[in-house]
């Protein structure tokens, strides 16, 4: 089959109207039309790198600073999870670990893999890669759960001298890291996955 591109057409990504290739903006909704996002991979890598840079301090610095009358404890993400696990709340520890560690790490790996596969003009398992991309894009926002927890705790537990919880520097870095990886995923143009495939009947891309 032919792709829209081979047919000399370009789709509007906003309202899904198809226009001839030369058209610069959608006649229906007015959005600019591109057959492929320009510099998509570049932007993917840039956000990806920014996310990675932020992810390092996010894990090194304390996420949560808990001050009570007698003690003060600084918990990093992993340290906090271990602490929770040590108190016996394995489920919560697991959620924290998955949301704050596994998901971001998997996201970095997945985005890197997708970008690399496009760069390498891979022709393998395009459907699986497409699904991977969709999952990444969907699941990425859940990484913010840790940041929300910190924000809520900080707002709630402010008992002056007795006990107070404050966000540590890692909270900001982690939030930035999640945002940057989301941008990274957003920058990826999934249509690129399909560009180097040999034409096959019954398969097409938007």
């Amino acid at each position: 089959m032919t792709t829209a591109r081979q047919a000399g057409l370009v789709t509007c990504r906003t309202c899904a109207r198809v226009w001839p290739m030369q058209t610069e903006s959608c006649g229906r909704c007015g959005m600019p039309l591109t057959s492929r996002e320009p510099m998509s991979l570049q932007r993917v890598w840039a956000w990806w790198l920014a996310g990675l840079v932020c992810y390092i301090p996010a894990n090194l610095y304390p996420m949560l600073v808990t001050e009570t009358l007698t003690s003060r404890s600084d918990d990093t993400i992993i340290g906090g999870a271990i602490e929770i696990a040590r108190h016996g709340d394995l489920g919560i520890a697991l959620i924290v670990l998955i949301a704050s560690v596994f998901i971001p790490v998997i996201k970095f790996i997945a985005i890197g893999y997708l970008a690399l596969s496009v760069r390498m003009r891979s022709q393998k398992t395009p459907v699986a890669r497409m699904h991977l991309f969709e999952v990444i894009e969907f699941i990425g926002r859940w990484s913010m759960i840790d940041v929300f927890v910190v924000a809520i705790l900080s707002a709630l537990v402010q008992l002056s001298v007795v006990a107070s919880i404050q966000p540590g520097p890692a909270a900001l870095a982690f939030a930035l890291s999640v945002i940057f990886t989301m941008f990274s995923a957003k920058s990826f143009d999934p249509r690129l996955i399909w560009d180097y495939l040999p034409s096959r009947a019954g398969q097409g891309a938007s």
Binding site: S35, L41, A46, W47, L49, V53, S71, R119, F180, L192
Partner: protein
């Protein structure tokens, strides 16, 4: 876009030829990260190591280093020294403070502490211990290895003051004992240690600025801890400075005299046991310009020691500085050991210009020499009556053998001496004790004990103990009697008695009147003549008349001495006796019992009254009245009797002649008449008395 665009798009890598602006983001992030990391590293501060004997409560990444209570660092690591004999605490000191942490810096651990001076470090109970550092505000030679102090130094946190040393041979107050100046806390004592000579105890002490200006070389310190109690000629004295210092102890000081020079850090002062000792010490050893003399005493008496006072007219002007024995057969003429003493006299004590210069000293020696020429001598004397402690007395002995100050004596001028003024109190006291011992104290004691035993037996016997009860009973009975008497007297029935008696007496009066009238009648009708005539006639019968008259007379006299009077007298006696009894103190001591008794008595009397006693009395009186009336009736028959007498007289008329010769009968008759007259008069007197004071019969007054 052109056709070439599609070509371009087919090659995704082609986009790489132009750089996306998005690359700014990771670059910026990287820059910031690197910047933060570098700044962190640069601000990391300086790592120092402090060695503690033990690190109780010190935790890595938790324990703070504080300077003036502000955190300026944090412990990074706690480990042992190589030989395991110390704990090395690595502390990361803040960058801006680090330069000041130089060689002079001191570190110690602050933990809660409870002493008599109060509670310190209370905040560390919750927050955990912290390490306090102290250093001055000037950067010095940097250092990174320190030895921690065992306790907080006396001066820390920018406090200013003067550090002195206090020494004592007996003991010092505990650490942190306040130093008080007239009750105001101006410093404190540090930890006491044994001095280098092993004899004294030395402690650092600090006087905080600006109070350290109070300290000079003439300052004396003394202990005001606890209570001092002394018993002397002036009475007993209990002395304590303040309740606070009584509980917590304290050291007081006073700068005595003037002329002290300001002191340097580390000067040593003695701590005296009390104020008196401190002042005493000041008098002698603080005054400069002592001039030394020799004195050799013939007697080698115990009790003189180095430091003993030298007095001139009761004023201490110096002290004994050395004591030695001396034998010099050639010089003294015998081999006895004599007492060689060196006396240090302080000229300024007696108004001389004390000074170090030799001129003043020479003037003082001249002065002593003149005085010696006038008779000044040294002798040993008792300090106090009962101790054998001696002092050296300089006194004017007018009758002393001439002597002079021996300026040639070596090494000091020698003051002549004289016989000691030492009372051998010991002997006297022994005599006294012997005499006391000889007293038959034990015999006396034995008999006293016997006496006491006997008394105890007597007192503790049941009979003796029963006496008070019996007395009380007796008194109660007496009281009862008196009260019943009184009640009887005061009862209405008795009150009515006088009236009845008055009536009785009236009838008696009446009777008497009638008797009088009869007698008058007899006299009027010249009965005497008729009687005289009759008497002769009645002859023998008349012989019996005198006897009858006598009987009547005696009856009447008896009646006169009626027992009523007697009863009244006895009642009076009884009453006064009862009063006397009641007036006794012992009786008064029983008012309550008596009260109770009276109450009982009243009820008894009430019952008695009900029981008819008074009625009986009334009845008696009534019968008395009856008797009186009978008497009255009897007297009514007297006219008849007189008529009969008249008749008798008439009938006797003839017989009178028979008697006329016999004068005896007339005499007897007239005597009879006189007796009758006397009887009538007595009756009259009684009647008068009763009518004048009817109560007298009853109460005897």
């Amino acid at each position: 876009m052109t056709d070439g665009f599609s070509e371009l798009q087919v090659q995704p890598g082609g986009g790489a030829r132009r750089l996306s602006f998005v690359w700014m983001v990771p670059v910026l992030a990287l820059l910031i990260a690197v910047g933060v990391a570098w700044q962190n590293y640069a601000n990391q501060g300086v790592l120092i190591e402090v060695a503690f004997p033990s690190a109780n409560g010190v935790h890595a990444d938790e324990t703070e280093l504080r300077y003036r209570d502000i955190a300026v660092g944090q412990v990074e690591e706690v480990r042992f020294s190589d030989a395991l004999d110390q704990v090395i605490v690595s502390i990361r000191v803040d960058q801006e403070i680090a330069p000041f942490v130089d060689q002079q810096a001191q570190f110690w651990l602050v933990r809660p502490e409870v002493t008599t001076q109060g509670v310190t470090g209370l905040d560390t109970v919750l927050s955990g211990v912290y390490i306090e550092g102290d250093w001055d505000g000037e950067a010095g030679v940097p250092a990174s290895q320190f030895e921690a102090l065992a306790k907080a130094p006396l001066l820390s946190g920018g406090q200013k003051g003067t550090i002195i040393k206090l020494s004592s041979s007996t003991g010092l107050p505990p650490t942190a004992t306040p130093i008080l100046f007239r009750g105001v806390r101006v410093g404190q004592i540090g930890e006491a240690t044994i001095g280098g000579d092993g004899q004294t105890i030395v402690a650092d002490a600090v006087i905080f600025s600006p109070h350290d200006q109070l300290i000079s070389s003439t300052t004396r310190f003394w202990d005001v801890s606890g209570i001092s109690f002394s018993l002397g000629a002036a009475g007993a004295t209990v002395d304590f400075s303040s309740l606070a210092s009584l509980l917590a102890g304290g050291v007081a000081f006073e700068t005595l005299g003037s002329g002290g020079v300001s002191i340097e850090d580390g000067r040593e002062f003695s701590l005296f046991a009390d104020e008196q000792a401190a002042r005493q010490s000041f008098l002698i050893d603080n005054e400069t310009g002592g001039v030394e003399f020799l004195a050799i005493f013939d007697q080698n008496l115990p009790g003189l020691r180095v430091g003993s006072a030298v007095q001139l007219g009761g004023l201490q002007i110096g002290e004994v500085t050395t004591i030695a024995g001396v034998t010099d057969e050639a010089r003294f003429g015998d081999g006895r050991v004599r007492l060689l003493t060196t006396l240090r006299l302080v000229p300024s004590r007696i108004g001389f210009n004390g000074g170090d210069d030799a001129e003043d000293d020479a003037a003082f020696v001249d002065f002593i020499e003149r005085r010696v020429n006038e008779g000044l001598r040294a002798r040993l004397a008792n300090v106090a009556l009962l101790t054998n402690e001696l002092q050296v007395d300089l006194f004017l002995a007018p009758d002393a053998d001439p002597a002079a100050l021996d300026r040639s004596a070596d090494p000091f001028p020698q003051i002549p001496t004289t016989a000691p003024n030492v009372t051998d109190v010991t002997t006297t006291v022994q005599d006294l004790l012997q005499r006391i011992d000889d007293l038959p104290v034990e015999e006396v004691m034995a008999s006293v004990i016997d006496f006491l035993d006997a008394s105890t037996t007597l007192v503790s016997s049941e009979e003796t103990q029963a006496i008070p009860g019996e007395v009380a009973e007796t008194l109660a009975e007496l009281r009862k009697t008196v009260a019943s008497t009184r009640a009887l007297v005061e009862s209405e029935e008795i009150g009515a008695l006088p009236g009845e008696i008055a009536a009785l007496s009236a009838s008696l009066q009446d009777t008497a009147n009638r008797i009088n009238a009869i007698v008058a009648d007899i006299e009027e009708k010249a009965l005497v003549a008729q009687l005289t005539e009759t008497i002769a006639a009645v002859g023998a019968a008349a012989d019996t008349v005198p006897g009858l008259a006598k009987q009547a007379s005696s009856v009447l006299s008896e009646a006169e001495k009626l027992s009523l009077q007697d009863l009244a007298t006895r009642a009076e006696e009884l009453i006064s006796a009862a009063e006397a009894v009641l007036n006794q103190d012992s009786a008064r001591a029983l008012p309550e019992e008596l009260n109770a008794t009276l109450t009982e008595l009243r009820s008894t009397l009430a019952s008695l009254r009900e029981g008819g006693l008074v009625e009986n009395a009334n009845a008696t009186l009534a019968s008395a009245r009856g008797a009186a009336e009978a008497v009255s009736k009897a007297t009514e028959s007297l006219p008849e009797l007189s008529a009969r007498l008249n008749r008798l007289a008439g009938q006797a008329g003839a017989a009178v002649d028979n008697f006329s010769r016999d004068g005896d009968a007339g005499r007897e008759l007239s005597a009879t008449l006189r007796q009758i007259e006397a009887a009538a008069a007595a009756l009259e007197r009684l009647a008068r008395q009763i009518s004048r004071n009817p109560n007298s019969i009853l109460i005897g007054r």
